[in-house]
Subunit: 604 residues, 2 copies
């Protein structure tokens, strides 16, 4: 309930999503249709996801030699999700979609992440099909994407390889034309793929009739060598089971073999695999290699894959956020009921008095307020970014322009900040539970384990930091920074009360420090030193963005109701306890501190 | 090897433990005898502990209805530990001890924690027996403590209860005199105990012939009511199996029943239990209630229990530290061998060049240097505090005086700081491993899970913070602060080079800020607000102490060898990246920030 109230406030009051309905694409929508989607998702999450969050943690996926076995609740959750229509929520009416704004879709999907972040992983199928809708041929869309939207097929993203995690230029999977007639296949130019793909979520299972693998591979040049770097990477569809032009299974299995399951710290409801493509044990249609159909043009694989990157990274940030909020709600509930000790003033004085509830201790309130500030702040930022995606897709030209530049600089933040601070929130949730939090009888330890993934996948913290300081803030002479700064200033200008003005001044000071550090980071001649402290920069940038988000939320929460009061308190917490941390992070950026760069390897 | 070198440097060069051998108690010792102890412990840890760290994580303790089953390696580890003589290392020669300084004992035990922190938990047996040596009767010492030192019996500490974790004044276990002749029992005044004890590590197992439970319970007053608060708490020995005056098992089982095992996030090699005392299913010697022998005087239970608190908390800090270092070594090893990507300057420019090793990336070095600064700094602090324990026990009066006051203020730090920052180190170790770090194929995720316990047990972070700001810095008009400040100044006075002087100035400034914040925290009239930000105070205090430790280590590392160079770099890292964080923490302390205290419960 708490989450729904918060979501409603963010969508309808803060982000005013109903305004989107003035646009042609969304003109059939209203608060009623949005609410209906939110109601449905909230209900399915409550009934089919939340009760099984521990089940999928305990009953890890197993490979029995033939197939991957998942607990039955996974199938039930997936079926309910598909039946809700959410797989094609954003699609056109004429292919069965809802033409739902992305902001509402993201908010609705958040209920599932809060209930059980790892069951099903339907987001991957949606991302896969969305990508096909953008780049695939009409027949590829019909045969693959539409069957994914219906829930008949599932989809994966096969980027990483065992020897090359984050470094896609080192992709070694090769794609060679499949015979002389390879270009004439109606499903697309036909290639044979050979290579190993690592960290493939939902890489194998029996939950759907088929699995559509989207695979990055390199087509060798005229000398038979793969092109070095990312330019040589192309994108292929490699279905687990081969299909005909009607999307019916032909009965032939493609040469995509499960080489192993990864046994993870958390996020265990999603099977994660090592897949071998074309290892050649069983020839497919008489030849070795896994059959793959080219999507788009050769060499444009990364471009296609990164087309959906904003959404993918918002999705990771939202998952981290919902884990943070799940822990917040659990520890808040615990703190309201568990009795323990006596408040400071009475300690030791009158032990004959009964103990008080945990929430009556100030330090417990501090840990709850921190979680609230991290989790609700992150949720606001994620939905703000989702709103920008809608602006980018359906806004007027100037709105599109601003949204694009804002997303360039905010995407590394919306992905990294919740991954770091909502993980910290989960640690505080454990702390509030004391010893009980360290047991598997309470849900918080699982949230913490699940959340640790988010700083790693979809671009590590380090990669987000390099992307921000090394690319995004420099692009187009700093357009992203300028537009973001204007929005911050607009928020500050609305400050009226003394407290608000104080916060606005603190925000402007912190932002000025960020800008100064950005400039000074690049003063020298050595990019190694400019980027040596990219992560502290990312952290400071993120905290400053969140201070802005909180001030803006606070300005929209001037009522005397408890929810508004709570948001104003969380804002104050953020300005008093969190924003002052940015100074320490930025100092090393400004000075291009070389301590780390200069450390000799053998001195560790 | 790396750990041993570091230990040797700290013990022999930095702490000069050989000087202890001038004292009567240690006069038979020399570097050779110390080295022999370290060699033995290093070898046993390598052979009997390290190979089984994952085993004890996977094969959790199981209760089969009659007994608790642990993997065989636990027995082997425990037996090897007992055979090493380490259980009685600190004891007098005449009872079979080694009269080893505590500093060396602590350093030697650290090898085990680094290899596998949760196997065996022999520290509890040692702590239990040490406590008996201080407060028990001669016969109790002989029957219980000596059999613990030999490894024949194990020991537990039964403080917490399900309804009262940290709040010992709410202990509800009751002790009633066992018949008219209860005071005449040669094993001590005999009582019957009834109550439940929670979080009891090693509470039941078959590893030893018997288990000696030390139990806190309340003796009812004349009206039959338990005395409120901590004053009514007494200490009892309740063996699992009853024994005679020769320490032989009589064949009677005491009424101490295993009510359940706790299933934990980590630290799974140590069985953790809920025990029911005197639940009455089977009368013992014809009467209900578990038999317990009073130790010391009635009402002095907490005093006895907290006698060993400094050592117990140093022990927790050391365990956290060793987990931090274990993760550091693992991720350093991984970073030196795993290749991934190309350095900044070359990125995208020449992808035909082979990828470099992780350690060649500056951000990886940053994460390694942070781990080194956290782990090695924490180890130095822990051994420094261990050295103070030796001063307290065997020093001249003025040394004792200083050691006592320093331990008062440093104990909350040595317990809390490694618990927080070596946990962060473990998270960085995962991050360096990327996706592999998130799998159970690498050891780092387990270190992170194991380490999460340390902010909870033996006094939570919040309790350490209240102890520091609410008690320790106020005692004796701030003697602890004054003596600590003098030691910091003495270190600063030895700064010679420009870098050292800069660091000394930064340390003095940070310490002055700590002192100012201490004073201003207590300016108001409301202890709730004075202590509202005790945790940020603890964090700032800890970081300042560690900056001092690092400066002192750096001053002792002026050679041109790689180890010295590495320590100077870690010191520089700490001063540039970590110490500046203290400002943000102290600001809320100084202003007695009321944001958390004022947050209304229903606004969360």
């Amino acid at each position: 309930m708490q989450l729904r109230q918060q979501t409603d406030f963010l969508l309808y009051e803060w982000l005013q999503v109903e305004q989107l309905n003035r646009r042609g694409r969304f003109s059939d929508h209203s608060r009623e249709t949005f609410d209906a989607v939110l109601d449905t998702c909230e209900r399915i999450a409550r009934e089919k996801y939340a009760p099984f969050n521990r089940t999928v943690d305990i009953e890890e996926p197993v490979f029995d030699g033939e197939k991957v076995i998942l607990p039955a609740c996974t199938q039930h959750a997936l079926d309910a999700y598909a039946a809700s229509g959410m797989l094609s929520a954003a699609q056109d009416y004429d292919i069965g979609g809802m033409q739902l704004p992305y902001t509402v879709e993201a908010a609705a999907n958040a209920f599932f992440a809060c209930a059980s972040v790892s069951i099903g992983a339907s987001m991957l199928t949606v991302a896969n099909a969305n990508l096909l809708m953008a780049y695939a041929s009409d027949l590829q869309k019909k045969v693959f994407a539409l069957n994914e939207f219906s829930g008949r097929f599932a989809g994966t993203m096969c980027l990483s390889e065992p020897q090359a995690g984050s470094s896609l230029s080192d992709v070694a999977t090769r794609a060679t034309p499949d015979g002389a007639d390879h270009a004439d296949d109606p499903l697309g130019p036909r290639y044979r793929l050979r290579g190993n793909k690592m960290w493939i979520s939902t890489g194998d299972h029996e939950l759907t009739e088929n699995i559509v693998h989207l695979v990055l591979a390199k087509i060798p040049d005229e000398d038979g060598k793969p092109v070095a770097g990312t330019k040589g990477i192309s994108l292929f569809i490699a279905p687990k089971h081969l299909v005909n032009e009607q999307g019916e299974l032909t009965g032939e299995r493609n040469d995509v073999a499960l080489a192993g399951l990864n046994h993870k710290l958390g996020w265990r409801g999603t099977v994660n695999t090592l897949l071998n493509f074309g290892e050649g044990r069983s020839p497919v249609r008489g030849s070795p290699g896994a059959i793959g159909y080219l999507v788009g043009k050769p060499g444009e694989g990364l471009k296609c894959m990164f087309h959906m990157m904003n959404e993918a990274r918002i999705g990771v940030g939202l998952a981290a956020t919902m884990l943070g909020l799940a822990g917040y709600y659990a520890s808040l509930d615990y703190a309201r009921t568990r009795t323990q000790g006596r408040p400071v003033g009475l300690a030791g004085k009158d032990p004959s008095q009964p103990p008080v509830r945990l929430i009556e201790h100030t330090d417990i309130k501090r840990m709850l307020l921190a979680q609230k500030a991290y989790g609700e702040g992150a949720l606001a930022l994620a939905l703000y970014c989702a709103r920008l995606v809608d602006e980018l897709h359906t806004g007027e030209p100037d709105q599109k322009h601003d949204a694009q530049w804002l997303l360039e600089v905010l995407t590394p933040i919306v992905k990294s900040w919740p991954s770091e601070w909502c993980l910290e929130a989960n640690s505080l949730a454990i702390q509030i539970h004391g010893g009980y939090g360290y047991t598997r009888d309470f849900p918080v330890e699982q949230y913490w384990r699940d959340n640790r993934l988010n700083m790693i996948h979809e671009g590590t913290h380090g990669i987000q930091a390099m992307d921000l300081l090394g690319r995004k803030v420099l692009m187009d002479n700093g357009s992203g920074l300028q537009i973001l700064g204007k929005r911050m200033l607009a928020t500050c200008d609305r400050a009226i009360s003394a407290v608000q003005k104080q916060q606005a001044a603190a925000l402007q000071k912190a932002w000025a420090h960020v800008l100064q550090a950005t400039a000074e980071a690049w003063l020298g001649q050595d990019p190694v030193l400019s980027l040596a402290n990219a992560v502290p920069y990312l952290q400071a940038f993120g905290h400053t963005v969140l201070a802005w988000i909180w001030l803006d939320l606070s300005l929209a929460s001037q009522g005397s109701d408890k929810a508004s009061l709570g948001r104003r308190h969380a804002c104050q917490y953020f300005f008093n306890y969190e924003l002052p941390k940015t100074g320490a992070w930025l100092n090393v950026v400004q000075s291009r501190d070389a301590t780390c760069a200069d450390m000799p390897e053998n001195a560790f």
